[in-house]
Symmetry: C2
Subunit: 339 residues, 2 copies
C-alpha cells in the first residue's frame, strides 16, 4: 500500500496525493476530498523512511539524559515524551553514563544524523562554545542553564529554576524558623552543576544571615545515590557536629537523610529539620511529609519541548526561561528545640 496505489485508486497522480497529504494548496477541493477518502478507504499510511529520505528531515528529537535513576528526571521524561508525540515528532531517548559528556551526545547526533534538535535533561552543563559547536541542531537544556563555560546565551535555550536563589530561599525558610546551624547535603560536583549552584545559594544565604560557613556541615555524596546520602548523614551525626537542620539539594537525598536521622534516634523535625528542593510526588507521603521547594516539572518539560520545536520550525529564537518553585510545606521543618 503505497502512495502510488492510492493515486491509482482514485485516478489522480502521485503528486496530487502527496500534495493533499502535505496540506499544499494548489489542489481543487473535490479532488482533495476524493483523495482523502481514498486514503481512508485504503488504510494508507505514508512510509516515514521514504519521507525522511527525500526531505532529508526526520521527525526525530533527541533527548539525552544521564540516567533516569532520579525520579525527578523520570517525571520530566514522561511529559517530554508525551508532548513530543502530541506535536507530531518522535522522541529518541538516549541515556548516558554519569561520567560521560557531550561527546556522546554529538556522536549520537552524527549517528542518527537526522535529529531535528536535542533536549538535554539534568546533569552538568559546563561545556564551552567550542565543544558545543559540534551540535549543528538547536538544543535546549531542561533543568539547568550554563553558568560556567563561555557559551553565549543566544547559542541555546534553557528552562530551569534559579538554583542559587531557590537554595537561598530554602535556607531563608530554615532561618525564619530559627535555625542557625544548617547542614547541606549535595551530590558529587563532578556529576551535576545543579548541586554546585544550589550549594552556592546556600553559602550566600548563610553569609547574608551572618552565619559562618562550617565545612564540617557539608556532606557530599556520589551521584544521586541515596545510599551515599544515608551514609554521609550518618557520618555527620557520628562526628558529633552540632546542627539543627539539613538542606538537601534534592528530594531523594532528603528522604535518605530523614532515614539516617531516624535510624540514629533523632526525630524529624523535633531534633532536626529537613528541607529539600525538587518536589517529588512521593515526598508528600513520607513520614514526616517533606518540606520542599517544588519545581514545576510538568511546565518545565512542556516548555522545553515547545521552545525546541519553535526553534526547529523557525518561529521563535533562543530564550532562557526561569521558573519559580512553590514551597510545599510538609512536616519536616519546625523550630529547633530551645536547648
Amino acid at each position: 500500500m503505497t502512495i502510488k496505489d492510492v493515486a491509482a485508486y482514485c485516478g489522480v497522480s502521485v503528486s496530487t496525493v502527496s500534495r493533499v497529504l502535505n496540506d499544499h494548496p494548489d489542489v481543487k477541493d473535490d479532488v482533495r476530498a476524493r483523495v482523502l477518502a481514498a486514503v481512508r478507504e485504503c488504510g494508507y499510511v505514508p512510509n516515514n523512511s521514504a519521507r525522511a529520505l527525500v526531505s532529508s528531515r526526520s521527525t526525530a528529537i533527541g533527548v539525552v539524559s544521564r540516567g533516569l535513576d532520579n525520579p525527578f528526571l523520570s517525571s520530566l521524561i514522561r511529559v517530554v515524551s508525551r508532548r513530543i508525540h502530541e506535536l507530531g515528532y518522535t522522541m529518541v531517548l538516549h541515556q548516558i553514563p554519569t561520567q560521560a559528556d557531550e561527546v556522546q551526545a554529538a556522536a549520537l547526533l552524527q549517528r542518527e544524523k537526522k535529529l531535528l534538535g536535542v533536549i538535554f535533561l539534568g546533569g552538568r552543563f559546563n561545556y564551552t562554545e567550542a565543544e558545543l559547536r559540534q551540535l549543528t541542531v538547536p538544543f535546549v537544556c531542561c533543568t539547568y542553564t550554563n553558568t560556567f563555560g563561555d557559551l553565549s546565551q543566544d547559542a541555546y535555550s534553557s528552562v530551569s529554576i534559579h538554583d542559587q536563589r531557590e537554595a537561598h530561599k530554602a535556607v531563608d525558610h530554615l532561618v525564619a524558623h530559627g535555625h542557625r546551624r544548617i547542614a547541606v547535603l549535595l551530590d558529587d560536583p563532578a556529576d551535576s552543576s545543579i548541586g554546585q549552584l544550589r550549594f552556592q545559594g546556600y553559602r550566600q544565604a548563610l553569609e547574608e544571615h551572618g552565619i559562618d560557613y562550617d565545612p564540617a556541615l557539608t556532606v557530599v555524596t556520589a551521584g544521586y545515590a541515596m545510599q551515599a546520602a544515608y551514609e554521609g548523614v550518618c557520618r555527620l551525626i557520628d562526628s558529633g557536629a552540632a546542627f539543627t537542620a539539613i538542606l538537601a539539594i534534592s528530594d531523594t537525598l532528603a528522604i535518605a537523610a530523614i532515614k539516617a536521622l531516624t535510624d540514629r534516634g533523632r526525630s524529624v523535625p523535633a531534633d532536626c529539620s529537613v528541607i529539600a528542593i525538587d518536589g517529588l510526588d512521593i515526598s508528600a507521603y513520607t513520614v514526616p511529609t517533606l518540606t520542599t521547594l517544588c519545581q514545576p516539572a510538568e511546565e518545565m518539560a512542556s516548555q522545553s519541548v515547545q521552545m525546541l520545536i519553535g526553534l526547529i520550525e523557525g518561529t521563535g529564537s533562543h530564550r532562557h526561561l526561569l521558573m519559580e518553585t512553590a514551597l510545599r510545606q510538609g512536616g519536616s521543618v519546625a523550630r529547633p528545640a530551645a536547648t
Copy 2:
C-alpha cells in the same frame, strides 16, 4: 557525505562499500581495510532512512506503556531503553492514557509501520486473540502475562512474576508473624490486571490459612494514585474495621498507606504491619523501611528486550519467563500487639 563519496574516496564502487558496511563476505581483506579506513577518515555515517527504505526494515522497537507515573515502570523503561540501544536498535516510546487499550498500540504500529516488535509494559492485558491479531510483529509483555482472554501462549512472549503466588507469599509472611486480620490495598481493576491477580493470590492465601475473607478490608484505589490510596486507608481506619496488617499490591500504595496510618496515629509496625510487592529503591529509605517482595526489574527488562530481539532476528521462539521475587525485610512488619 554519502556512501558514494566514500566509494569515490577510496576508488571502489558503491556496492563494495555497502558490502563492507553490512559485513558481507565476497570482499578482499585489503579492500575491506581500505574502505573501513575511508569510512573512518570521512566520518561517514550511513543514512538510516535510506537504509530503512530500501530494506523496508527499520531498527525501531516500540515500547508502549500506560504512563510512567509508577516509579517501577520508570525503572523498567530505563533499562529497556539502555538495552535496546546497546543491541543496536532504536526505542520508540509510546505512553497511552490509563483507559486506552491496544487499539492505540495497533494504531501506533500502523503509523510507524516499520516497528520490528513491541514491548508492552505494565497495565492490564486481557485482550483476545482476535484483537491482538492486528499486531503483525512479535511482542513481549513485561510484568504481566495473559490470564484472561483466549490468547494462545505461543502467540506472544512474556516476562513476569507469578503475581498470584507472590501475593500469596506476602500473605504467608504476614500470617507467619501472627496476623489474621489482613487488609488489602489494590488499584482499580480496570487499570491493571496485575492488581487483580495479586488480589486473587491474597484471597487464596487467606483461604488456605483458614481465614475468612472480609470485603470490608479490601481497599480499591483509582489508578496508582497515592492520594487515592491514602484516602482509602484513612476511610478504612475511620470505618472502625479491625485489622493488624495491610498487603499493598505495590510499593507506592504501601508508602501512602504508611502515611495514612501514621497520620491517624497508628504506628507501623507496632499497631499495623505493612507489606508490599515491587521493591522500589526508595522503599528502602522510608520510615520504617518497607518490607517488600522485590521484582528483579533489571533482569525482567533486560530479558524482555533480549527475547523480543531474539524473536525479531528469527532465533528463539515465544516463551513465558516467570521470575522470582526476593523478600526484602524492612521494618514495616512485626507481630501484632497481643490484644
